[in-house]
């Protein structure tokens, strides 16, 4: 597999949100607005890239039977770093994402890529895989967030598009997340099939 497909597969063919359906908890929970989705996506991207980097570096030093605990500790450390830095430097966003930042630890996407990719590939490919997957995840979350924000409160990235009184509240709430995600997956699959 060359590096270009390594990178692009995260966007379309193996998009974590629309195709692999990994990390659904933050995808549904944090995407009440496009900005939240983007913030969550970028935080996850950072963790993914760093975890993939470290794990592919040390994969030969770690006995097979304790690899999962070791991976989790590495991932958890990076998540805590993101959590602390965000609380210090981006308090507003940190407040919005709240509980979901610490929960990146248990995001299947991160451990999934560590186990399925980084523990078998070299450092370069693993980092590129992390970037591709992370940005694909961020893209998915931002799109879902934007759709929900437009339909739910008539705004995109906080900018008013429809009038103030317009709101389909269901899209801001949990059921709307499932409905919007379902339609987005259907649309993405339609395009993927055509190609």
């Amino acid at each position: 597999m060359n590096q270009v497909t390594n990178f692009t597969k995260g966007f379309v063919k193996e998009n974590p949100v629309f195709v692999l359906l990994l990390g659904m908890c933050p995808a549904l929970g944090t995407t009440t607005s496009a900005l939240n989705g983007l913030g969550m996506g970028l935080a996850t991207t950072f963790v993914l890239v760093m975890a993939n980097l470290v794990i592919s570096l040390v994969k030969n030093q770690i006995p097979a039977k304790v690899r999962i605990p070791s991976f989790i500790v590495v991932i958890a450390s990076f998540v805590t770093m993101v959590d602390l830095s965000m609380a210090g430097f981006l308090p507003a966003l940190h407040e919005q994402l709240g509980l979901f930042i610490p929960l990146i630890v248990v995001n299947c996407l991160v451990l999934g890529r560590a186990e399925a990719f980084a523990s078998k590939n070299n450092v370069g490919s693993s980092v590129i895989d992390g970037i591709g997957m992370g940005l694909g995840f961020a893209f998915g979350l931002t799109l879902l967030g934007a759709v929900r924000e437009v339909l739910g409160s008539g705004k995109v990235f906080g900018m008013q598009i429809f009038s103030d009184t317009y709101a389909m509240l269901v899209f801001v709430l949990a059921p709307g997340a499932f409905i919007a995600l379902g339609y987005l997956i259907a649309i993405m699959n339609r395009f993927a099939k055509k190609n």
Binding site: I62, P63, V66, T80, L84, G88, P91, V172
Partner: protein, 192 residues
């Protein structure tokens, strides 16, 4: 290939991994601690300047706390030219739609509410979060009211507070928090 999974290797690996991680985290913590505290303080100070009338002391330097209903209320007395002008109370409620809500309520010396700001909440975006000042007129209706003759309950419960549409629970919780602050304010003898 990967090392053999014997007892010595596994123990050593886990020990090394955890030690290195703790070291990294300690390092990150040490240099984010300052900014995190600053962000917290700035938020409190911003809320204080919004809910209190003009003051010239530093209310956060004279704060004191009282324990009420299993939580902590923090009092921030404000003075101007040595005169007491009001007290801000950081209050809470556990009855929010999704957990605890923290408010900063500013009282004038006679118990009149001067302003209310939300410090932290987890209410539904687009619904309960309209309690934040600037997102709706909800918090404005409390300004200039004295809970002595202004019943802090939503209209549905026989009070005088106009609830946020479709967020009665959040509105109720908000009133609960304000009421708790007022009760504590009266208990402390108003301005002492």
């Amino acid at each position: 290939m990967a090392k053999e999974s014997n007892f010595k290797n596994m123990t050593l690996t886990l020990l090394t991994v955890t030690l290195l991680s703790s070291a990294c985290l300690g390092f990150v913590y040490s240099f984010t601690k300052g900014p995190i505290d600053d962000a917290q303080n700035e938020k409190i100070n911003k809320a204080l300047s919004k809910v209190l009338p003009e003051f010239d002391n530093r209310p956060s330097s004279k704060k004191f706390t009282r324990e009420v209903d299993g939580g902590i209320l923090t009092f921030y007395p404000a003075t101007k030219g040595g005169e007491q002008v009001g007290t801000a109370i950081q209050t809470f409620t556990k009855n929010g739609f999704s957990g605890q809500i923290d408010l900063m309520v500013g009282f004038l010396s006679d118990g009149t509410i001067h302003g209310i700001e939300v410090i932290a909440h987890k209410e539904t975006p687009g619904l309960g979060d309209k309690m934040e000042s600037g997102k709706s007129q909800f918090s404005v209706q409390f300004q200039g009211k004295n809970p002595q003759d202004f019943k802090l309950a939503v209209e549905k419960d026989g009070g005088q507070v106009e609830a946020i549409t479709a967020s009665t629970i959040s509105s109720r919780a908000y009133c609960d928090a304000v009421q708790r602050a007022y009760d504590a304010f009266i208990k402390e003898g108003g301005e002492k």
